[in-house]
């Protein structure tokens, strides 16, 4: 049992923290938001230069062979700096599908251009009525010749506007909520029949609603088993949830730090408001919530390697619940303790609050995951 980082992991943390300290203060971020698609190609290039975009890929595939802990370190740092770039969509989720199910040919076609930063990915999964159930899929993939034809609509696809390749979940057989008959497909974003409606999201990211109308793709577009890939999707989405937990911990750390600094300097009644016990206790509770979240983020990171998929899912669900509760408390109280200034777009705390809030509703909210734990055999 060990919760410390090893030497290499410490170096990784130092290097990404250093990079973001240099290039990602709040003022720079305001500029990046206005760039095409809402993020900075320059920063993305720097992430590539430091090897962060190739972090989780095997060395044989051109990556650096990093594991869950490495991704946790990066996601926490990205959260702390409120980074806009599509690391989750491209490296964690896109990379996850390629690592777990990509053929040699698929990996050769996609991994190098992810690692060098020239291409990004997006995960087209959410449907109008699917909410958080990954198996609720109506988009269809029908066999035609050697290839497939995709029809359907996907929503709130993060980085959908910019991605070069879309990873699409689609039903090859069965009914809407059947657990079998779901496949995962690599679809070029510029394929004929792909129509995108792009928009900024509440937290400053960019997403797209995407319609697929008779989109023809080749046989080499299938990731894994086209008729039975729910377990694959669950695994990759669990990894995305774990990454979001780590990002949220970074966001909470920074929210707490910013709030404590603020109440130490803001004066009312002739004294720093941080001298008032009611505010001190609130800040202490924010600390407790953040530490509990950090514990569960670590737990989930280590659970990613559990052999039993059910046990893994249960642990990740539990972590997402704790993170959801903690982030709501920390986020809301950070605004409250900032008072009026916390309500403004000019203060950075509101931006942290918004990103935290969106994380709660990503890939299953607190109630959803709590119900999953409740319906299982228990955690104790």
């Amino acid at each position: 049992m060990d919760f410390d980082l090893n030497e290499e992991q410490r170096l990784l943390k130092e290097s990404i923290d250093g990079l973001l300290t240099d290039s990602y203060d709040f003022e720079s971020r305001k500029k990046y938001v206005k760039e095409k698609g809402g993020w900075s190609r320059t920063v993305w290039g720097k992430l590539a230069e430091q090897g962060l975009l190739g972090l989780p890929f095997a060395e044989a595939d051109g990556g650096f062979g990093g594991g869950g802990v490495e991704t946790m370190i990066v996601m926490e740092a990205l959260g702390k700096a409120l980074v806009l770039e599509p690391y989750l969509a491209t490296v964690v989720i896109g990379g996850g599908f390629l690592r777990h199910a990509g053929s040699d040919g698929q990996k050769a076609a996609h991994v190098p251009s992810i690692v060098d930063g020239s291409k990004t990915l997006a995960f087209a999964q959410l449907e109008k009525n699917s909410r958080y159930d990954l198996f609720d899929v109506t988009t269809t993939a029908k066999k035609r010749g050697d290839g497939w034809v995709i029809d359907g609509e996907k929503f709130v696809v993060l980085n959908g506007e910019n991605a070069d390749t879309l990873i699409v979940t689609a039903r090859t057989r069965g009914e809407r909520r059947d657990k079998s008959g779901i496949g995962v497909f690599l679809v070029p974003a510029n394929a004929k029949g792909v129509a995108k409606k792009s928009y900024p999201t509440q937290d400053g990211l960019h997403a797209a609603d995407i319609t697929f109308t008779g989109v023809e793709i080749g046989a080499d577009a299938v990731l894994g088993n086209p008729d039975d890939s729910l377990a694959l999707i669950e695994r990759v989405v669990d990894e995305a949830r774990i990454a979001l937990c780590a990002e949220a911990v970074g966001l909470m750390d920074e929210s707490l730090k910013t709030t404590v600094e603020y109440i130490k300097t803001r004066k009312q009644f002739g004294v720093a408001i941080g001298s008032f016990q009611s505010l001190q206790h609130r800040a202490s509770d924010m600390f407790v919530a953040t530490e509990q979240a950090r514990s569960m983020s670590m737990f989930a990171t280590m659970a990613a390697d559990f052999e039993d998929a059910k046990e893994r899912s249960n642990a990740v669900a539990a972590a997402k619940v704790q993170i959801g509760k903690s982030l709501k408390f920390v986020g809301q109280q950070a605004i409250q303790l900032h008072g009026g200034i916390g309500m403004t777009m000019e203060a950075k705390i509101g931006h942290y609050f918004k990103r935290l809030t969106m994380i709660e509703n990503s890939f299953g909210d607190t109630d959803y995951h709590q119900r999953r734990v409740a319906d299982g055999a228990g955690l104790i």
């Binding site: 049992m1 404590v260 001298s275 600390f287 509990q292 709590q370």
Partner: protein
């Protein structure tokens, strides 16, 4: 980072577990499961079994009878002890006064007291709180005046847990009334059988009387019963209170209770089916389990940190243990109240002889709920804990 326990640690867990299985008297275990108070005999019997095994004062230095276990082994031992469940060693002797004596006492005091603490030949109680000195402990007024080779002690202590069983008390007394409040306090130990000591039970809202008021009326105590230096008692008290930070989370206790809740909720019916099938109840149970899992991990972080860097540097996460640990213990008793429903009301009509298995388990649920309100008050109330975090961690 690695969550797994080593093979040796797993084997150790098995060893501890099977020792409890073979040696904890079944009736003692049953009473703990049902949340009942144990008699003095029941507790002492078990502690002596533990001491005979060499585990009575496991965390003491080896020269005084400790085990030399790693932090992780201590963690495993405590968790198994709490979740079996078996009575925990008497904290007042083993975790509080014992370490003060072997750290600050003289050789004579170590020889005289430590073996008797380990074997519970002396039952110790704690004379800290006073009617006017709760959270503001340093304002205490109990006075010890030097007269030749004796101390003359006058004053009153309160919330003295299990003083009715006690042979010895360790007491914070004001020895220099002119000094600033923390500076004039000394740490003195003496017999509860001394002339002038009166114990009066306080009945608590659970119907029990585990706490007492203790009055000192010209109690004569030999001067050599002073531990360490005169007027340094506050330092020893801080040492004592800071000593046991991970055990206070009581993760094992809450685990045992959650298992019991799950078990009972599978038997007790609501709406014609077991209450565990009620989705709203199950959500609450899951919420509590998740909180406990997070706390367990936080505790493991503290344990792993101690194992690596020693106990010197307090881990900021350890401040979380008392607050969350007490809240979760309280939630488990609330869940038990919910399971039992209308049968919370009857007072203990069946006694505690185990003769009425069908109903005995209900008897202590409401008292246990009432009793557990204390856990967010004692050991530095949760509000005091928040002050500590604000000051020591956040720098407010």
């Amino acid at each position: 980072m690695d969550l797994a326990f080593t093979k040796e640690e797993q084997a150790f867990r098995e060893e501890v577990r099977s020792f409890f299985r073979d040696n904890v008297p079944p009736d003692t275990r049953r009473k703990l499961v049902e949340g009942r108070h144990l008699s003095k005999d029941e507790m002492v019997t078990w502690w002596r079994i533990l001491n005979k095994k060499g585990w009575g004062v496991s965390h003491w230095p080896k020269q005084y009878g400790g085990t030399g276990w790693t932090s992780v082994q201590h963690y495993i031992f405590n968790e198994e002890l709490q979740s079996y469940p078996a009575p925990q060693p008497l904290a007042f002797g083993v975790s509080m006064v014992g370490p003060v004596i072997y750290t600050f006492g003289n050789e004579e005091q170590k020889k005289r007291y430590l073996p008797r603490i380990a074997n519970v030949d002396d039952w110790w109680c704690q004379g800290f709180s006073e009617p006017g000195s709760g959270s503001d402990l340093a304002s205490l007024k109990t006075k010890a005046e030097r007269k030749g080779d004796k101390w003359i002690i006058n004053g009153q202590k309160t919330w003295t847990t299990l003083a009715q069983h006690a042979d010895m008390i360790f007491c914070l007394c004001r020895t220099d009334p002119s000094a600033k409040k923390q500076m004039g306090i000394s740490f003195i130990v003496f017999s509860m059988k001394s002339k002038g000591v009166t114990v009066r039970p306080i009945q608590t809202i659970d119907g029990g009387a585990e706490v007492n008021e203790v009055f000192f009326d010209d109690v004569e105590v030999p001067y050599e019963n002073l531990i360490g230096e005169e007027n340094k008692g506050w330092d020893y008290a801080k040492f004592l209170l800071g000593n046991e930070r991970t055990g206070i989370a009581r993760v094992g206790v809450s685990k045992e209770r959650l298992r019991r809740i799950r078990d009972l909720a599978g038997k007790v019916e609501s709406g014609g089916k077991p209450i565990i099938q009620d989705a709203a109840f199950r959500d609450k149970l899951a919420a509590c389990e998740i909180e406990l899992k997070a706390l367990e991990l936080t505790q493991l972080r503290v344990v792993a940190d101690e194992g690596k860097h020693g106990k010197g540097k307090p881990n900021p996460a350890s401040s979380v243990l008392k607050i969350k640990g007490s809240e979760i213990q309280q939630t488990t008793t609330e869940l038990l109240m919910e399971v039992i429903g209308p049968f919370a009301a009857p007072y203990d009509v069946h006694g505690d002889d185990g003769s009425n298995e069908a109903m005995d388990w209900t008897a202590q649920i409401a008292p246990s709920y009432f009793n557990n309100r204390k856990v967010s008050i004692y050991g530095g109330s949760n509000e005091i804990q928040r002050n500590i975090i604000a000051k020591a961690v956040l720098g407010l």
